[in-house]
């Protein structure tokens, strides 16, 4: 099934990121996701854009962040691209919540994370998360498959 596509560009300004979020949420609801699922699609794209602004562009406004969405009833694909500093291999390789780190000790307050959760959230929610840096362009791609409802005979 063909997907509907949209491409938009925002300035690298955290105050503008909500505009992307609203669009992703509305499009996700349109293809049938419930409130929580649509929120999680919005969350992942917002996290990716926030990371781009903070890390690729060092929190500085005045740079372009390009967001694309391809939406169909069976699949959602999102990409966030920039021309800033690429994510390091160490950051990409780190898996905060794997194995023993999965359960936070509620009594070990100093060990609770106060950052770096965005990429892990994307990996938890999405079926696939890929990142590549080529020719000065960094691009993070996320895919979520939407289960097709089984019709009862």
């Amino acid at each position: 099934m063909l997907a509907n596509r949209i491409h938009l560009t925002i300035d690298s300004n955290l105050a503008d990121v909500f505009l992307v979020g609203l669009l992703i949420n509305s499009a996700s609801r349109f293809v049938g996701l419930d409130e929580t699922e649509a929120y999680q699609m919005e969350l992942c794209v917002v996290e990716a854009v926030n990371n781009t602004i903070r890390h690729a562009y060092g929190g500085q406004a005045g740079h372009e962040v390009a967001v694309s969405a391809a939406i169909s009833p069976s699949r959602l694909e999102f990409s966030v691209a920039d021309r800033g500093s690429p994510i390091s291999g160490d950051v990409l390789a780190a898996r905060r919540w794997e194995a023993s780190a999965a359960d936070h000790d509620p009594f070990a307050l100093d060990q609770l994370p106060e950052g770096g959760m965005g990429l892990e959230i994307m990996r938890e929610v999405m079926d696939q998360v890929d990142y590549e840096s080529r020719g000065g362009v960094n691009c993070l791609r996320m895919t979520k498959r939407i289960p097709v409802p089984v019709l009862e005979a």
Binding site: L14, A15, V17, F18, G21, E35, T36, A38, Y39, Q40, E42, L43, V46, E47, N50, R54, W97, A102, D103, H104, P106, F107, L109, D110, L112, P113, E114, G115, M117, G118, E120, I121, E124, V125
Partner: protein, 111 residues
Amino acid sequence: MKIEANKAGKILVIKIREARFGADSVDSFSQQVLPFIREENPAILLDLSEVNFLDSSGLAALISCLKARNGTGHLALCGARASVASLFRLTRMDRVFRFFPTSEEGVAALS
């Protein structure tokens, strides 16, 4: 960010009066809320009932509040809608924070 702080008996209820609690509002949140957190309030209830979008930056600000309490009193959350609550589950933070469905139930339980 607009917040509202009210006492319900000994409980301080801090309500976030915004639909979105994200990266662009955490500085304002922390500046307003951390002073309350550091005061000697035996129990604080953060009311998220008007928040329909919370990202990891907003969550991190809530974690900072918990750390600032440093185990010296209750800090609980109330009113989180199902979508927002899902972020706590995704990040395993549902094990760290105490949740109540409504501020009334939170106040009753903590009083």
